[in-house]
Amino acid sequence: MTYLLDGNAIAGELFAAFGREMTDVVGKCRNCGTVSVVAELCVYLRAPGTVVRCPSCHAVVMVLVTIGDECNVHLPALEFEQ
């Protein structure tokens, strides 16, 4: 059983955090340079937080942690291009 989803699964959280639709935003992985839209990133939801990885090198590019009512978005290795 795979627990892997894609960026579509966190679209609502990201909209709430960034104030706009994010699934079609292009991002570049700072670890390997791969460019993809947020919808194509690898999403691991079943964890203390949500871990988002590069579909190419699997580096952790984004982490979402919900504390109380707030969803904190961390971008350890993702650069948005828009």
Binding site: Y3, D6, N8, A9, G12, F15, E21, D24, V38
Partner: protein, 249 residues
């Protein structure tokens, strides 16, 4: 009816269930009346939030099964045996109940009749839900775009919206092929087994037609189908994917 969501706002709102439809033994549709609905695009989804009386909350995303032209917003829920939310939605929720949700959400896995084709829709199991919205939108607009739907299910009884997609297949411009993976009727002339490279070579648009491709279903299905498409020569940048799976902790 508005076609685009209001930019910058994604608020939780309350919808009322006005109808429920048992589609297959596992899938049930809920039709919602949403007074503050801005309209949506085929392929988008909503997030549902359930609250127990002690404040405990659970949240899940569900694709919108209805087209923008339809009355009410319809969701179709696949009941997961040990799910936390889906059995509640299929077994407990009744017309008259309120459901908290936000949406529409999604800017990538979306289609509208202005987009060029041909259109190739590939789904496994409940992945057919957002594609059904696309087909209904297509049927309402009748753009000059040819459509092929390739759908994989365990058996004919597990094909959600089976009668409806057969009616779509009656359009000249629409071609529907079903792959059954576990059981098929005697004399079945559709595909037996999973959607694979051979099936795609026979059933999909050839790469030189540059189809616009949407693939939706469980993660394993989507990854296998997308890989097979690329193996048959389809360009990766023409393929959009949406993976479904259990999200509860």
């Amino acid at each position: 009816m508005a076609r685009a969501a209001l930019p910058g706002r994604l608020s939780w709102q309350i919808g009322r269930v006005v109808d429920t439809i048992q589609e297959t033994r596992r899938a049930k549709s809920l039709v919602l009346d949403l007074p503050n609905w801005p309209g949506h695009r085929a392929g988008q989804h909503i997030d549902i939030r359930l609250t127990a009386d002690d404040g405990y909350q659970a949240q899940r995303g569900y694709s919108i099964a209805s087209a923008p032209e339809d009355d009410g917003v319809m969701l179709t829920v696949d009941r997961l045996e040990d799910g936390e939310v889906s059995p509640y939605l299929t077994d407990v929720v009744e017309p008259g109940d309120e459901i908290e949700l936000r949406g529409p959400i999604g800017g990538y896995f979306v289609w509208d009749p202005s987009l060029s084709g041909p259109l190739l829709l590939i789904s496994g199991g409940s992945g057919i839900v957002p594609l059904r919205a696309m087909l209904r939108d297509w049927a309402a607009a009748r753009p000059q775009v040819k459509v092929r739907l390739l759908h994989s299910a365990r058996s004919l009884d597990d094909v959600i919206f089976r009668d409806e997609i057969m009616r779509f297949a009656a359009f000249d411009e629409v071609d529907v092929r079903i792959a059954l993976t576990r059981a098929w009727p005697e004399g079945w002339r559709g595909h037996r087994g999973r959607i694979d490279r051979d099936f795609l070579e026979r059933a999909a648009w050839p790469p030189q037609d540059a189809p616009r491709i949407y693939v939706c279903g469980p993660t394993g299905f989507v990854e296998a189908a997308a890989a097979a498409l690329v193996e048959t020569g389809q360009r990766p940048d023409t393929i959009k994917t949406e993976r479904f799976g259990p999200t509860g902790g």
